[in-house]
């Protein structure tokens, strides 16, 4: 087997494992991968792209909503609920957890807490976005070199 390809696959596996170890992705991401097949080889990228686009819009909406004179905490709570749901769906637990904390601040009508937490949500989102883009880049390199994507098992699977 091509040594270069083997090294690429090894880098991909190591990178994937690091994402699980850091808690950036969890086993739900692997569940998504299980759904991908020859009939729809871009399924995971498609679903993740939806998450990234929707979340960017949600974060923009929240930034705007929290600067209003009379903050609609119920609406902000609902927006965070959506982002919590979609981050859970793609297996991004750190984003999900940041959304939960944000929702708690919404229930308390704590604007400062919400603003602080919104920054955290943005940071976690930017982090998972960059990590996933790097992951897809590595996967593309493996496939372009004629290799197959290794089957993944998380090192520290979340229950």
């Amino acid at each position: 087997m091509d040594v270069g390809l083997m090294q690429m696959q090894g880098r991909l596996t190591d990178y994937m494992n690091s994402l699980f170890k850091e808690g950036i992705l969890d086993s739900q991401y692997l569940e998504l991968h299980e759904l991908q097949d020859e009939s729809n080889p871009g399924f995971v990228v498609e679903v993740v792209s939806l998450f990234l686009t929707d979340s960017e819009k949600l974060l923009d909406d929240l930034s705007r909503d929290l600067t209003q004179q009379n903050v609609d905490f119920k609406r902000a709570h609902a927006q965070a609920h959506k982002m919590k749901g979609s981050s859970c769906s793609i297996g991004a637990p750190r984003v999900k957890n940041a959304c939960i904390v944000f929702q708690n601040f919404c229930q308390e009508k704590n604007i400062r807490g919400c603003l602080r937490c919104l920054q955290q949500m943005k940071q976690e989102f930017v982090l998972v976005k960059s990590k996933l883009e790097a992951l897809f880049e590595l996967e593309q390199q493996v496939v372009a070199a004629g290799g197959s994507l290794p089957k993944m098992q998380p090192i520290n699977p979340s229950v």
Partner: protein, 149 residues
């Protein structure tokens, strides 16, 4: 407004060891305002091949789900989200039951336990499960469907 979409899988690639026991058809309506959720559930259903022919349709809110029924469609299972614009899952479920729809209606929501969720159950759900559904949960729903035939 997005129109409901339909997908049919004819189950040709079934495992030969259980094809004799497999139900002929399974029709599922996925009602959720989030495209991501609709896509994942649709893909999961097509991959599981729980019947020789699996037909999935999607709707983006409760009103679309009702309109499908009013136009004559019927389904074995309806996967119903709770929080949706125009018409939410609770109202849609009440309306469907008032129309004597006999489908298994399964609430699928990430809303925590509380008054909203209770009202959702009381609207006429057969079950309420957390998002996202897993392969095991979907298989279990179809098994329940078979038992209740």
């Amino acid at each position: 407004m997005a129109s409901p979409s339909t997908r049919i899988d004819d189950g040709r690639d079934v495992d030969s060891d259980n094809s004799g026991l497999m139900r002929e058809k399974l029709s599922v309506l996925i009602v959720d305002d989030e495209l991501l959720v609709r896509k994942v559930h649709e893909k999961l259903l097509s991959k599981l091949k729980l019947a020789k022919q699996v037909q999935t349709q999607t709707a983006t809110n409760g009103k679309e789900a009702l309109d499908l029924h009013l136009s004559g469609s019927s389904f074995d299972i309806i996967l119903m989200d709770l929080q949706m614009p125009i018409m939410d899952g609770t109202e849609a479920t009440k309306e469907l039951r008032a129309m004597r729809v006999e489908s298994m209606i399964v609430g699928v929501t990430s809303v925590d336990a509380g008054a909203d969720k209770e009202a959702f159950m009381e609207a006429g759900l057969d079950k309420c499960l957390p998002k996202l559904l897993t392969a095991d949960k979907i298989k279990s729903l179809v098994e329940t469907l078979e038992k209740n035939k």
